[in-house]
Point group: C2
Chain length 333, copies 2
């Protein structure tokens, strides 16, 4: 085909590409190129939070994050208002936990059909205020607008001591991979009732042992892959070490409990990496500090860049397919 | 009727009240009661922005604001992507201008149907980046999700020197009321093409002469009423002083140009009040500093709490009806 024709077809093809075809991550990458990162930006687009610094604050960096909670996407239309609000605050708090930040303030944009009962909105805000208040996050404002379905967009500001935020990009080959709590219970309701791991995130940050951290929102396999990609490493998951939740054990829908634990989104647990020599001491200290929240070794980072494998009880290594949740594309593991 | 029956009916009535019946302002007031304002909050819910302070920043307060831009509410479905993005950034910038703040960072939540062309989203982000960049606002992150229609939720952080933000609540009786630019052009397209008055807002703040300020988003009459209510004053508008835009002069739709200038939302000009003794000097300095942006005296604050009147060429005072735009209820002046 003549070069001019190929070029024309490529251009036409791009013109017709939808965001479903492109997928969320590729879209964010493209949009990131349009947004120059200047002015006190320590970490911009691509991590759990943005980390920024003003010249006038000599001791803390600010941590910024936002999350939507949309009817039909993040909760079902008939869901209890209190749980919807709770989730909306919980999602940004989980992002702050993932860099080890302390929550400060939030704004909430509410979108709702005009015929929504006032009591329903008040129920949502009670849920928001309860969850935010428990973790020291003050909701200081926001905006409201009419729309086709109910949505909350929560924007949160937190802080970490200068340069101490734990990023996704710091893992090194051989680092031990830990996860908090248990995995795979989101479809049984945990996605509405999780407790963001703020105390744990701040404790991990204060110990100074973790080389990277992320909160599990898209699925453990998928989120670990992001840590590996951003750190320029690979990872090896030991399937026998995965803390499968009792909800996932009940195994509805024909998928194995392990598949739920590896691929279901919205666990809102923390996954973090620790150099081998510091791992055992951290585990011991954890057990003294957090008696009710489990900590599990689930694998280690490897040198094979972007290469995420798992090892089963039979000792065989297999490449892990990427099955986490991606917006616009959806999930069907 | 027996008391128990009345009580039952009142409770039932509240249960059935929709947010359309209540209206945006009453809703925000009710929700505000559910949200305790603690922890370094200088100004919480109810002003253009929230103003907050960390103990570690000795010289600046942070200014937080958010605004939605929704297809079918804030822009028509077929609108140019560049203008949609431009408006989304412009709205938060106008909020920052209204307290005299300097823009720093923003996050953007994007909601879009999965079949949206990538090029359309990129066009929107070009508009966002262009407007943000012109005013020193860096977009550092955000989130994306699928949804029924296109929406942008922009969250912005700015700063002002400690205690120097200009609020809506500081006007005093007899203060002169000024507005920037001209009013009533939003329906002819200005709502998509306005330039937020950041340079002017910061200049006004630096001069230290203004007692209150607001950006005109719901309509001049309505926004002036909010300044009066929050300041515990009244206001008297001199109709002959209103800077009616040439677009409003063309007068489509059977309403008078003055009615457009008083009641149409989305002018994104600044309205501010200045003590009488400082007004003339400020006007002179303005004309030297801003040669292309008009400044008009449109009236003065009065002692009659919440009482907004206007005086026409015939010298008669009449009460001004409240006809600005309110979400969930809409506008039909």
């Amino acid at each position: 085909m003549p070069e001019a024709v190929t070029e024309f077809l490529n251009a036409e093809c791009l013109l017709m590409t939808t965001i479903r075809q492109l997928g969320e991550r590729a879209l964010i990458k493209r949009l990131g190129r349009l947004l120059p990162q200047t002015r006190g930006v320590i970490v911009g687009i691509g991590d759990d939070c943005a980390i920024v610094r003003t010249v006038s604050d000599k001791s803390y960096d600010l941590v910024l994050t936002s999350d939507p909670v949309i009817e039909g996407v993040h909760f079902a239309a008939g869901e209890k208002p209190l749980l919807v609000g709770r989730k909306a605050a919980g999602r940004v708090l989980s992002d702050l936990a993932a860099v080890g930040a302390e929550p400060l303030w939030a704004l909430v944009d509410l979108v709702a059909p005009a015929d929504t009962p006032v009591t329903k909105i008040e129920g949502i805000y009670r849920g928001l205020a309860g969850m935010a208040g428990r973790h020291g996050l003050t909701i200081v404002g926001g905006d409201t607008a009419g729309g086709a379905c109910l949505e909350l967009h929560v924007f949160a500001v937190g802080r970490v001591p200068h340069g101490r935020a734990i990023l996704r990009s710091g893992a090194k080959p051989e680092d031990v991979v830990f996860v908090t709590g248990s995995l795979g219970g989101s479809r049984a309701g945990k996605h509405l009732r999780f407790e963001p791991r703020l105390a744990q995130g701040q404790w991990i940050r204060a110990r100074g042992a973790a080389s990277s951290m992320i909160d599990l929102s898209d699925g453990m396999a998928s989120d670990l892959r992001r840590v590996a990609e951003m750190s320029g490493t690979g990872a090896l998951i030991n399937l026998a070490g995965i803390p499968v939740s009792t909800e996932a054990m009940k195994g509805k829908g024909g998928r194995s409990p392990l598949s739920h634990a590896l691929f279901d989104g919205e666990d809102y647990e923390l996954l973090f990496t620790v150099p081998v020599r510091k791992a055992a001491a951290l585990e011991r200290a954890w057990r003294t500090k957090f008696t009710t929240v489990r900590l599990s070794r689930v694998g280690s980072m490897t040198a094979g860049r972007g290469n995420v494998k798992c090892v089963g009880p039979d000792g065989r290594h297999t490449l892990l397919k990427d099955g986490g949740y991606e917006h616009f594309i959806g999930s069907d593991t």
